[in-house]
Amino acid sequence: MFKYILKRVGFIFISLFFIVTITFFLMQAAPGGPFTSERKVPPKIEEQLNEAYGLDEPLIIQYKDYLVNIVKWDFGPSFKQKGQSVNDIINRSFKYSLILGFEAIFLALSVGVFLGVLAALYHNKFGDYAAMIFAVLGISVPSFILAAVLQYTFAFKLGLFPIAKFDSFMHSILPAVALATTPLAFIARLMRASMLEVLNSDYIKTAKAKGLSSRVTIYRHGIRNAILPVVSYLGPLVTAILTGSFIIEKIFAIPGLGNEFVESITNRDYTVIMGTTVFFSILLLFSILIVDIIYGLIDPRIKITGSKGDQ
């Protein structure tokens, strides 16, 4: 097990190396300079800027410097937010995204699994239809529409929640709901499909035939086996929450990392783009690793082994 994790972590670093490299060179290829502005800067001053940010060096030197700095966990200075480093930006904004993300993941998982199980147990009955209508609606409404409508009705019209910003738990409810709905519906559907499959499988029928109470069957055998597709969806779930946050944070004026990322792209703030991209990637890669480990722990039929050599 330990060896397996070590190996996976090694792979994560290799992946990161590729990501950093690809991002770095894509950024170089992208048109639109970081110091372009409406009021054209005199060429001399632009030269001084390039020099100050090391952009006058040959590409390969810049690349090497960037790699070395990344290893030291230094993402460099922001081009647009003067005097601030990318590390500052990540440090101050990540906490908002983290809280929002955890709330949304918690919501999506708990409600999603619950609805899925409910639907499967009451297959083709009212509970099924109710849960699935909810799930389908959740999938059908794009998150930005949902966010805007939630904000308009619950915050603006009814005044139940604050309209925007992120100062208290109350502030976080609407954005978390808006962020969670699509993945929640996704999970509910996955859970339902897989639960139905499990309920119809031979071993559950056997368990029932052996006289186990249906509650024991459902909990001990059913859910545990049916949850596997949901677990394998956890990786994409984290991605969905992260990318979803780009829009949700904008609508609810939350100073989170997603907001920074989108803004850095429109601003062509290269160091911030690269920094946030690398940071997001690290986050995703480690959550995928965790998902795989959990997957292995839950499904006894999949043995966690690095490769045949380890066996």
Binding site: P42, L49, Q84, F156, P255
Partner: protein
Amino acid sequence: MNWRKWSLLLTIVFAMSMFLAACGGGDDADTDTDGEANDTEEASGDEELADEQELSVNIKTEPPSLHPGTSTDTTSSAVLDQVFEGLTRVNQDNEVEEGMAESWDISDDELTYTFHLREDATWSNGDPVTASDFEYAWKWVLDPENADTDYAYQLYPIKGAEDAKEDDGSLDDVGITAEDDHTLVVELEQPTEYFLELTAFYTYYPLNEDVVSENKDWATDAGDDYVTNGPFQLVSWDHKDNIVIEKNEDYWDADTVKLETITMHMIDDENTALQMYENDDIDWIGDPTDSVPLAAIPTMKDADELEISDRAGVYYYSFNTEEEPFDNENIRKAFAYSLDRTSIVENITQGEQKPATALVPPSIFEENEEGYFEDNDVDTAKEYLEKGLDELGIDELPTIKLSYNTDEGHAAIAQAAQDIWKKELEVEVELNNEEWNVFLDSLGEGDYQVGRMGWIADFNDAINFLEIFETVGGNNYTNWEDEEFQKLIKESRSELDTDKRREILRDAEEIFMDHMPIAPVYFYTNLYAFKDNVKNITVSPIGNIQYKWGYITEE
């Protein structure tokens, strides 16, 4: 970190209670409610001041820099203009008045300005504001060692400034001299009629040398080192979230300042901001740091909620005069004449913008209310088209590309232009939108045919519009230049007589419009709304907002 926040909070609470106590005492004197409420008059007792002088506004995004020497944008200036003060200040009526300087002398040749600083001006840490603080700040910007000083060219009217910044000239040769603590002598390269307006601009703000030279990161956070000299001071700066400024009691004109606290939120989404405005979470919406959502404009206008004021700026389509068919003057004219500006302004932008058929806004040249040609003059446009096609030796126009930067409003205007050009000139127009920085680079590289552009004046003078097109490069994306035009611009610079100078600049504009390297679309307006109890805050034609004179009345 935390104790600092707490102590700040305590300070605010303390200051608030002081203020409340003071107000309680002064109430009797102030309760004089006859006379009409007049927005431009000071709160001399016409209205009852509210107990809580707290204002909440939206600055939309994080200010990129709160260092006067490195900032280049309206968001930063919306903060800087409150917490700093230059030698002069442009007041509510757009007149230059005394700031840190209580008087000044101008030499007869208009090349030497001697500023006399007020004795009672202090920094927020108690240090006196001296002439050398100005010298230090300006030379800091002009020092080639200091990057991020994109706006150094704002200082180029000063003798030797451009040399020092760009051509290895010595900083000692720059015409800035602090004769003594309270006398600053500035020598100019050439007479500059608007120099006193420039000294009110943020690149010309002073810096407290002692503090700033010790800590190069002084401007990245609120704190003891963020030392300022304006009517307000920075209390807290939660990045990407909000900025809080409060009244500076030591400001020389503190008696005028009524507002105690101003919270500047950073809400990017216009609709979110509008909802917060209607929910009374913020007191101000729209220009200069934000905009009113297009869809909300008609309703707000009907409800008489919207304030509209002139803005010295022009929205235009730039022609790439090196690309066929826009290398032909008549074709350019056909495109410019056929645009239906009135319809664009009335139905799309809806902010009572003025259809533009000239370059310089009517707030500077009144004649330009009329402009140089008639709007939507389809017949003349077709004549020009005919002539142009003949000259080019083609039967019909090729498909042309209209580029703009990604934005709902620009897209709508571009589609209206596409529609009318297709209808009247029978030309296929392909729309091309790009992200802002990419767009600017494409234009800079001449990789476009027709491109959306806009210019908002840095200072309220015609030269600011005309000199853009003096030479190719910089902000002139048209690839058009003209010797006669250049000659007139040069001539205007040495002309000391205001009327004659104006005449010369008018002539230059006429030449420009005759060559039509751009198709003006409309002159900007400021569009904003504020709560009824917010008084005496206006947006200037160059898009500045000042809270110095603002106050809040009892509802």
